[in-house]
Amino acid sequence: MNSPMHQPIAPAPDWSRVRTEFPLLKRTVYGRPLAYLDNANTSQKPDRVIDAVSQFFRERNANVSRAVHALSEEATNLYEGARSTLAEFIGVQSDQELVLTSGTTMATNLVAYSFLLPRLKPGDQVLVTTMEHHANIVPWQLACERTGAKVVAAPINQRGELILERFVEMLTPKVKFAAVTHVSNVLGTINPVTEIARECRRRSIPLLVDGSQAVPHMPVNVSAIGCDFYAFTGHKMCGPTGTGVLWARRKWLEAMPPFFGGGDMIREVHIESSTFADPPQRFEAGTPNIAGFVGLGEAVRYLSELGMDRIRAREQELLVYAQERLREIPGLRIIGEARHKAAVISFLVEGAHAHDLATLLDLEGVAVRSGHHCAHPLMQFYGVPATCRASLAFYNRCEDVDQLVAALHKACKLLV
């Protein structure tokens, strides 16, 4: 699979033209142009993805793998085609190692119940980091609660970087599983997942990497990382909501019992018992989000044509510009200053509560997120109740950042 997907296949895109392919970005909010800076929450969708979904319903809609008629065949090919496209996109040899899920959260829960739960004993540990999203903490806690094991977290430094030596020290024989985010949704920190995977492999500790914030923003080659599980979600990468992926090494998938039972995941059913399909179908009970994956497949082709390395470079430019401009605001503090960082900027302004800022920014057409960003332990580490977060995507422009800065100046005049 010598894929051109991670290489630029065209000269640098004209980013202002790219922006016009996102219809929602043309709308206004409270009579002002929309500056959409909540991309870490969910991304906007280009025409191509919207059209692919709508065309599926208009021309191809049928269920997958159940009927012999032509439409069902076409729907199955499209759905399975999306699986192959996704596998190639993340550098995985066999698309049969990809379980299609409803998102990262379903992927981590599947691993927690099907893989982890049967392996945990009292006194065992699951190692995470302080910067994890709740989707990469709570499922492990639920499995631990049932077994007498416990979740422990490796610390980060004030810049928001994982202290790798501490993480490695904490990989004791008690640790039966580790789960680390590739990129933090609050701090933007890019974790050294290849090194982390090497240390885990050395100790035969299975590692899950949460790629929710990585796959949309940089080239990712899961085989090169060397982890055991990799999860990500479609709606943050220009795809529809309700789509996601769990990649797992085949040996683990084969060892995992089913989690959801129902149609499409069985080989034979008798009233007393059933035999189950091979992975990945074993984990895809019921009718899947067919149209969603048709859309996600199109999103992946779209991102690949733009080039993930070009997307990364573009977002780095925007990040540098945004951080520089934000420092103009008196009393503004950026939370998360890792040396390797994606285009996510959490900030606080002395004397202003994050919610007030977000409401005042919204009234100026600037969409940011405020709150704890599903990362309570991280907020506790920094001793703050909440932050504002501006998160950028390649279709943002410097004017969006300017609009944010102007709105912040106004808001601070009121609040501070």
Binding site: H355, T359, L360, G371, H372, M379, P385, L414, L415
Partner: protein, 150 residues
């Protein structure tokens, strides 16, 4: 941000309560105390009260919270002196009506009527509800309150 036009919610009157809250601090002697906390948005406050035959005689609060929560808590303190639980519950019901837009003004609310604009900001209503919920909890002998579901 045309001062009162676009932003009645952040009008000077409320910003002033946020800057210089009334009855800020704690009481020398308190009969009851409750913590209000909306963990999801990071609003926190502590209300202390002193009562006399079931009526609020004194009130003090401290908050690490947004303008809405802080201003409600500040205005509330002046409003509830002399009230008993039944009066508080009536106040809470009237406040709910203006927050949900089913009523524009309620005489019993006094300065709290300023929050009628929140009918247009459903995501921020829980911020306004927190102080009153905390006060009711304190009156009922409970120690914690939240206005976030689930």
């Amino acid at each position: 941000m045309g001062q009162s036009g676009v932003l009645p919610l952040y009008r000077e009157q409320l910003l002033e309560h946020n800057r210089v809250p009334h009855r800020w601090g704690d009481l020398d002697v308190a009969d009851a105390c409750a913590h209000g906390r909306n963990a999801l948005c990071g609003d926190e406050l502590r209300i202390e009260i002193c009562c006399n035959s079931g009526r609020i005689r004194d009130y003090a609060f401290e908050a690490e919270a947004c303008v809405i929560t802080t201003a409600v808590a500040s205005i509330l303190g002046d409003r509830v002196i002399g009230m008993d639980m039944a009066a508080l519950e009536l106040l809470q019901k009237a406040f709910e009506r203006i927050l949900c837009g089913s009523s524009g003004q309620e005489p019993v609310l006094g300065e709290l009527n300023a929050f009628a604009e929140l009918a247009q900001f459903p995501a921020r209503r829980k911020c306004a509800r927190l102080p009153l919920a905390t006060l009711v909890a304190a009156m009922a002998g409970q120690h914690v309150a939240t206005t976030e579901e689930g």
